[in-house]
Symmetry: C2
């Protein structure tokens, strides 16, 4: 029997997640479960499932703003989730890990163009996917069928504000909640297509740097000091300009030294992915990307590092014309890390490079480089059982092979779960590429939500088959 | 007979200036005025003069904020100035040119360290100097002595918000108010020393540029787009980094082509200036300047162009770590112009240079360069009569030759007055280098205020002598 932990986590800013709720369902008999009956049940009860999603999305469980009213909503959301799990027979433990949350109103749009789209903040990120797992369990329960595997839920509500307490909890529960867990499933992220499902096997890490150049704390006036100073902005612009060239290549010496080489097998994975480059470019409102082919684009988003300059603190940033010479400025940039880059090596390389560039300027200013944030990349072994099970379940429900994709963003919990529990992690998304997470028009397609519930049910059975074989 | 127009104008942000007040005093007999009697009168009545300054500074005539209450204060200040001029027998015309103003409370500090310092916003910039001119006139009037020259005052209150209406007024009054004027005196700025008076014969101009780089209006997330974009910040940083080198030299081709060469005579003027480089560096809180000698420092502040990068609009500028790829960013920089640089030539040079740098990057982004603001440099002929008269007056009152200095900042009205009226302009300051214009502790020394009043009286007489000789 294979226990699965369904958990959700993502890096972005405004998503929805519940207060931490642990719930466990025990599988009492092995498969084969009557999958057709389960699918039929899900189809027949889809309006109920949509109704529950509507009720959940109506809770303004916003974790971004630390407002008392929203914190109460977050608690209420945790309560609803716990009740739902208990109602299905789970043992539930709630852990308060500090919180807030976010929401927009839910609406099922019935205009022809929007038919079958369920709108509302949290529909796809992340109440829909959480409920789809619960729907899958509930179908077995309602049909009085035994669950094919043991299932544990870990539902957490603070992702949009960093899930600061989660890492510690995972460590603490390594020999508790996680002791009997064989593999971990995260349902966050989206497919890369509107109709074709995907499995995610990697995310990039991130090393966020600040580089401060200081002459003095106060600013200067360019009339009274312009011409006789090593101006901090000139130093900083030179430093930032030394980081990446016009083709996007990072200029820090040695930075590509540990990047995993592309294998032939990997190339084939990229070739098989369903992406219309032209449509992608248009929907991104970008005139031209740095690369023209699907493979190059995706590799540079997922499996090569990238460096972005985010901005400058301390300089003039408002509209209009101000003749200030900023006295102290802080440049911000970050490098998305990929396997097998080592964060502390990257830190040393960046610092040494900037120190070299700065020393060449012979400036009288002070420079300080810091790595403000370091998040490891994550990569899974796509030969692991749960990837095989997920592929089979997708084939059963959607009649297709999934896109095997990565996420260029950073989802630190994947790496934390993998490293701490030493269990295999898979990301099994169910939202479509155009769901618009965090946007004013966030939605989930009814089709994705309902077929996704079936997918998860099928996944239980495939996992059980693989472990009994 | 030599009429003089005393007027004040400066570039900076928070100074004090009155609403526009025109006042004229007629000289009915030629000199020689009994200068000793005038000096004695000023010494005897210095407490009254300080009292008047106190009353003026107490008026919160702040032109920066367009608040109704402050606008009323500005009007009240204009009324006080007009009354004072009328009380001395002037014909006064007020012109409403829109307004605001600023003030801090006035205090005469009698602690030993601060003895003789009159504190308050506006004391040195610029109510003190305006009153010193009025004090000089009042001494002649009180002694029933005829004024040695005709005098016109142009007092204006909107300098700290750009004096937008002043240029038009000067043009309009070219054949009116200015028709009988022979030379124009501006008493703004400060000496370059604490004790040694100065005459100012030039100010730098300013060409303010914005360079926008745009991929799209919305920002991107560095996780989902990092690696495949020509990022606008990378382009902008490269553009800004191409403008000036670590030694402060501007890298725009041809930019030094029209800069006036240094003459031997000019070198001697710089050598004679009283400046303790070490004290200047310490008081500036700067570890090291780009140049070590007094002459190099002053020339790079006054007679060579300089380029300062002020900041970037549209990028991440707050504290903390945000992984944004800004979609559209605007760099701001400006070049302080010196004789005989031509603003439209500079504009072309900068645009061509940035277009060349940008084209080399082969970026798919859009770049737009604009000259947001253009202000000409100003330089006077230091052999003109009023420079001679001012030197003699300084010798009489202070027993020394003045420092012949320039101002690295831009005071557009000097050039406007010179060009429009075709009259010679002189800047005759009376504040000390440590007066702290605009600061919380702005002050004027009682000594500077009182001796400055004498200086202006002596200047009237010297002007009259030169014109009758």
């Amino acid at each position: 029997m294979a226990p699965a932990v369904a958990h959700s986590q993502a890096e972005s800013l405004l998503a929805f997640r519940l207060l931490l709720v642990g719930g466990m369902f025990s599988a009492s008999t092995p498969p084969p479960g009557p999958l057709e009956k389960v699918f039929q049940y899900i189809d027949l009860h889809q309006d109920e499932f949509v109704q529950t999603l509507k009720e959940w999305v109506a809770v303004e469980s916003d974790s971004v703003q630390p407002v008392p009213r929203l914190r109460r909503e977050l608690l209420r959301m945790a309560g609803l989730a716990a009740d739902r799990l208990r109602g299905l027979g789970a043992r539930v433990a709630s852990v308060d890990a500090g919180f807030q949350q976010r929401h927009l109103c839910f609406s099922e749009n019935s205009s022809p163009a929007c038919k079958g789209k369920l709108y509302g903040r949290g529909t796809t990120d992340n109440k829909g996917p959480v409920l789809a797992w619960i729907n899958a369990v509930s179908a077995f329960k309602a049909l009085d069928e035994d669950l094919p595997v043991n299932i544990k839920f870990l539902i957490e509500g603070m992702e949009e504000s960093g899930s600061l307490a989660l890492e510690e909890l995972v460590r603490k529960e390594k020999s508790g909640f996680f002791s009997s867990v064989d593999c971990i499933v995260i349902s966050d992220n989206l497919w890369i297509s509107r109709r074709k499902p995907a499995l995610i096997y990697g995310t990039r890490g991130n090393s966020y740097f600040t580089v401060e150049v200081k002459c003095r704390d106060q600013d200067f006036h360019s009339g009274t000091f312009g011409g006789i100073l090593n101006e901090p902005m000139a130093d900083l612009v030179a430093l930032l300009g030394s980081l990446v060239d016009a083709s996007g290549r990072i200029l820090v010496p040695g930075i590509y030294g540990h990047v995993a080489p592309v294998t032939e097998e990997e190339k084939r994975v990229y070739e098989a992915i369903d992406l219309d480059v032209e449509e992608y470019r248009n929907s991104s409102q970008v005139k031209k990307f740095l690369f023209d082919t699907k493979e190059e684009l995706l590799m540079h988003l997922w499996r090569y590092p990238s460096l972005s300059i985010h901005g400058i603190e301390g300089a003039f940033h408002e509209p209009g014309a101000k003749t200030v010479i900023p006295g102290r400025v802080i440049g911000k940039f970050s490098i998305r890390l990929v396997p097998h880059m080592d964060m502390s090596v990257v830190e040393t390389q960046v610092k040494q490079h900037l120190e070299y560039i700065f020393s060449k300027r012979n400036s009288s200013n002070q420079m300080t480089v810091s790595m403000a944030l370091g998040l490891h990349p994550w990569i899974a072994n796509i030969s692991d059982h749960q990837y095989l099970a997920a592929k089979r379940a997708i084939k059963t429900v959607f009649g297709t092979e999934p896109d095997m994709i990565r996420d260029g963003s950073t989802i630190p919990i994947a790496k934390i779960l993998q490293d701490t529990t030493q269990k295999s992690v898979i990301m099994l998304p169910l939202g479509a590429v155009d769901d618009g997470e965090h946007s004013q028009n966030e939605k989930i397609n009814r089709w994705n939500y309902i077929e996704g519930s079936k997918l998860f049910a099928a996944f239980f059975l495939e996992m059980a088959k693989l472990h009994s074989s």
